[in-house]
């Protein structure tokens, strides 16, 4: 293990997780929870690039999830596009929109950036819930399935829908994680981390700060959009809540809780916060209290997030 780079270790751990977890699944419900973990993990991996690498905050990324989701809901019906193409279309729209609004928004810093992204997300949410002639309004609308299961069936393979989604989303998450990890060690990754540490210092050594921030914003928007598309197609249903403020907060919390600086940490955060509410339904009324407490305690006592803090503690004990 000593010779492996952190990148390979992360990837191996993820592959192992995707492959081994189903051995412990007693029912198809668990495949569904697993799929949700992977889809959230994908969105959160995008936020690692924005928050962890570049050090910028966004409280409006659910807006991009909404665009991805509604692209998959609307394009097959109105434009006759196959769902996969609709997903790509959503990603392109999200990326383009992020590029357009990113330029002015990313000049802002700290809390001002937070309120601007928040406002942007709310605008998307409002359009989705108010233009009911197109989006069905707050009641939401049906979404066509990806059609992967039918494809497999025509090849003679019959796999339950929950499992198809599990393996497919696991694969997409691995791809997303691979890209993010490669970005980390590339020159772009170095530039992003440099501007995270000190924008002025980075600018002094010739990093085009505005360009790299915008790049991180666009990439994370595309991740969020694809995760939104997958979520909508898996549920075969979408409502404007997918673009809501709470979803944005949820994604940022997952990222920071697990450890914004590391892809593996953030995916861990996503998995915990996805699985937790499923477990907490037992407590029902106490769900909010427990969730709020966990958010506060982790951030107070493990400030860098679960995974990086624990690794630090562990390696200190060894050293």
């Amino acid at each position: 293990m000593k010779n492996l780079s952190p990148k390979s270790i992360t990837l191996l751990a993820l592959v192992a997780l995707v492959l081994v977890a189903p051995l412990f699944f007693p029912s198809s419900f668990y495949y569904r929870v697993g799929t949700l973990m992977f889809i959230n993990g994908l969105a959160v991996t995008g936020l690692v690039i924005l928050i962890g690498y570049a050090g910028q905050i966004s409280l409006g990324h659910a807006g991009f999830c909404g665009i991805g989701a509604y692209a998959c809901a609307l394009a097959p019906v109105h434009l006759g596009l196959p769902p996969v193409v609709a997903m790509l279309l959503g990603a392109i729209i999200s990326g383009a929109l992020a590029y357009l609004v990113g330029r002015p928004i990313l000049r802002l810093k700290g809390h001002y950036l937070a309120v601007a992204t928040l406002g942007f997300g709310i605008l998307i949410f409002m359009v989705l819930s108010n233009e009911s002639w197109l989006t069905g309004g707050p009641d939401g609308m049906q979404v066509e399935d990806l059609g992967l299961r039918d494809l497999l069936k025509s090849l003679g393979l019959s796999v339950p829908a929950a499992q198809v989604w599990y393996w497919f989303s696991g694969l997409v998450l691995l791809l997303g994680a691979l890209l993010a990890l490669n970005l980390h060690t590339s020159s772009t990754g170095r530039a992003l981390r440099a501007l995270h540490d000190s924008e002025i210092a980075a600018r002094t050594v010739g990093v085009d700060v505005a360009h790299f921030k915008l790049m991180a914003f666009v990439i994370s928007a595309v991740y969020a959009s694809i995760s939104g598309s997958l979520l909508a197609m898996m549920n075969k249903f979408v409502s404007p809540d997918i673009a809501g403020f709470l979803h944005s907060v949820q994604m940022v919390t997952m990222t920071v809780l697990g450890g914004a600086g590391s892809v593996f940490g953030a995916i861990t955060g996503a998995s915990i916060l996805t699985a937790l509410p499923q477990g907490l339904t037992v407590f029902h009324d106490y769900e909010h209290i427990v969730l709020g407490l966990i958010m506060m305690l982790v951030m107070i006592f493990l400030r860098e997030g679960l995974v990086p803090s624990l690794i630090k503690r562990f390696s200190r004990r060894q050293g």
Binding site: L108, H111, G119, I122, M126, L257, M296
Partner: protein
């Protein structure tokens, strides 16, 4: 003309509430650089506590005062147990802590109180007052008047009293304030108590008009935060202007353009202002030390 006046009245009423929430954000931000996203929960606690205390037989004025005191204590506890232990953490970390606190308080409220909508009697009845063809509820007058009293009171507190000046000194430079003998920990506690109490007063004043329930906090926190940023974070006068502007934009959009997009209008204006003035209307320009 009377239409316009009508919209302005309703805009000023909501605007006064937003301004009070924004003021709460500002006071805590000045003392500690923390943006407290559970500010909206203070408004909820003020209203809900009053409802349940008066249902338990406490006379309304006493219930309202008790509710404000309870909320102030919750504010102090929040500072003691969630903000102080996280000193010097990054902006994102603190944002998550305060959002966690707001979810936690909402969860507690949903168990201690319930999930229903509540209101109590207006202070001076519900007969609308007619002014130049437009009408205004007596309770709206209470809200606007209450906000004016609080803003004036705080202005006097900050400029005329030693403690108030100590708060301003802490806001300017915490280390320097400590060097001249100001107990900055006490100032932090005071700021959280003050800002929770202001939120609670807003909740008490507005509940007869808008009703209250355990989950009204998020929307108020978003609007209040936006108003505070519009005015320029850290500036109480900016909070007042920001709150009133957001309230008026909402009311005028709802009246003249479309009520479904009233929330959108406020955020479009805020985005537009931030594009031109990245530190808000009255904010100090940020200076970076390297």
């Amino acid at each position: 003309m009377s239409d316009l006046l009508q919209f302005v009245f309703s805009g000023l009423t909501v605007g006064a509430v937003y301004a009070l929430v924004a003021l709460g954000f500002t006071i805590i931000y000045n003392a500690s650089d923390v943006v407290n996203f559970s500010q909206g929960e203070f408004v909820m606690l003020g209203g809900m506590s009053t409802v349940f205390l008066s249902a338990a037989g406490v006379p309304l004025p006493a219930a309202a005062i008790l509710a404000v005191v309870i909320t102030a204590l919750v504010g102090v506890a929040l500072n003691k147990f969630a903000i102080e232990p996280a000193r010097n953490a990054s902006v994102v970390t603190i944002i998550i802590i305060t959002i966690g606190a707001s979810i936690f308080l909402r969860g507690v409220a949903q168990i201690v109180f319930d999930k229903q909508l509540h209101r109590f009697e207006s202070f001076s009845g519900d007969v609308p007052i007619e002014i130049l063809g437009a009408t205004i509820l007596p309770q709206s007058v209470w809200v606007i008047f209450g906000a004016a009293v609080i803003f004036t009171g705080l202005y006097l507190f900050f400029t005329r009293t030693l403690t108030g000046k100590a708060v301003l000194a802490t806001a300017n430079n915490r280390l320097a304030a400590r060097l001249v003998g100001i107990n900055t920990n006490f100032i932090m506690t005071l700021s959280f108590a003050l800002s929770a109490a202001i939120g609670a007063v807003a909740g008490v004043l507005v509940t007869p008009i808008t009703l209250t329930s355990y989950d009204i906090g998020i929307a108020l926190a978003l609007k209040g935060f936006a108003a505070a940023m519009l005015g320029g974070m850290g500036n109480p006068f900016g909070a007042l202007v920001g709150g009133l502007v957001v309230g008026l934009i909402e009311a005028l959009t709802a009246g003249y353009i479309s009520s479904t997009y009233k929330d959108a209008a406020a955020f479009i204006v805020i985005l537009a202002v931030l594009f031109v003035m990245p530190s808000g209307l009255f904010g100090r320009a940020a200076v970076n030390r390297v």
